[in-house]
Amino acid sequence: MSRVPLTRRDLLERCAVFGALVAVPALDIPAISAFWEQADALKPTPPNALGPFYKKRAPEARLLRMKTDAGMPLAVAGRIIDTRGGAVREATVEIWHADHGGHYDIAGYRFRAKLPLDAEARYQFDTVMPGHYPDRVCQHVHYLVTAPGHKPLITQLYFATDPVFEGDPDKTFTKDPLIQSRELVRPVRITGDPKEMYAAVNFELCMERL
């Protein structure tokens, strides 16, 4: 017997077949099903430009920051889910960003990683706050998330504390013409002990099924 759970669409359609739903003679089952699923769905994370500096074969790592690295320590954590809220455990998550000075490592893999996921598809990495550089307005981290049966998610994480936003990203996020969705600008919590402060950000990524 199949162990595949029924979806709401399956349930509705099967009920219709067996006559369980008979209250409304003109019931449009597919329309109701679609409406129900839509109401139930989470919004996929908005895509954002891949940019020119993606590099294949980034090593699996969680700790990207070395003690000698300049810049504010940054801890990012999140989870990879689908539009039904389920964990996408089989996802591959690659991230890359510029160093504190705004330079991408082209020759090597500094500040580039493939992130390990736990059983709940949670990820985390420790790095430094990316720097600004001449051709981009805002600090950002690139994400490439792929998973079987899902549309590849290419997006970027931005930081509400970026001076460019002048403390009000709701009004100023379009200062970077590449940011077309406010939700990519994430709150930043400054935490840690006084000797070792760091910025902490949560960024959950929601993938679309194919």
Binding site: A49, L50, G51, P52, F53, Y54, K55, K56, R57, G102, H103, Y104, I106, Y133, P134, D135, R136, L144, T146, P152, I154, P177, L178
Partner: protein, 322 residues
Amino acid sequence: MIARALSLLFVLAVGAQGAAQKSIFTVKATADIADPVFAPRGDRIAADVGRDRICVWSALDGTLIQTIELPDRPAAKIFDAAGDELLVSLRNGTIQVRAVSTGAMVREIKADARQRTLALSRDGRLLATAAQERVTLWDSSGTILRRFAHDFGDVVNLAFSPDGSALASAGLDANVHLWDVATGRRKATVPGQLLANFALRFTADGKSLLIGGVAGAIEIVDVATATIARRLPAQKYAVFAIDVSPDGESIGAAYFDIDGMTRPAPVTVSQLDSGRLVRRTNPGVPYAIGFAPDGQLRYALIKGPELTVGVATPSATRRGGS
């Protein structure tokens, strides 16, 4: 071409930095100029002027040849092999073919999305376009023949082999693929590519494919085996355009600064057979290059409404080989 590349690579264009030291002409348009492209023969150059207009000039002396009014903003454009027709992809998804001599519409192709990358086979019978990661192959009447796709990210360049049997595609997924046009099958993926390539150019005999990108080195791919045959010394810049001289002996390349794409960057000329660097000049921010019929490599700079065309290879330098 670089303006298109830069828009894909999220750059805010600010125009060329500094003046060209070896400029041969500067033209001033009525509005800001963007996205210059040379014709394959290098004798004509087209650029966007303002929002809905393209001007075509002689790349030899700057004479205005045609002004083409468009119904929408252009997203990409290329000349045909002879430079007689200009193919313009509009943001509304249509591709118009315009006669350069009159500006008149020759034909129009309706695509389902904005095509940001274009390539035309030498005989003009095949057109390849790309929208995001999807490549579409068309015949000259606008019928879709094939569809290909990269894994993810935008396809940033396409090139047909001289006989039209193969199509090369380069994407931001850091892949360069070779496709069999007749079957639609992927023949090969160029090995060893870890970073994005932006420049693709087949040699005239079709035996080699020159590629270049973020890694900074021009690599010469043996098409038959899809292996890297040779690698020219890397510059500390990313390659965004490559051209081959009419005699097939020289490679021209234009670069951008990885740490600031609107910073000055070089234009180089190297010997194809030895890989030796013959000439390196720093004209400002090069936006396009093309070998002219006289064998000189021209580059284009833009600054507001001004388009400057300069020469990277004075004849005397090439003759002297220094």
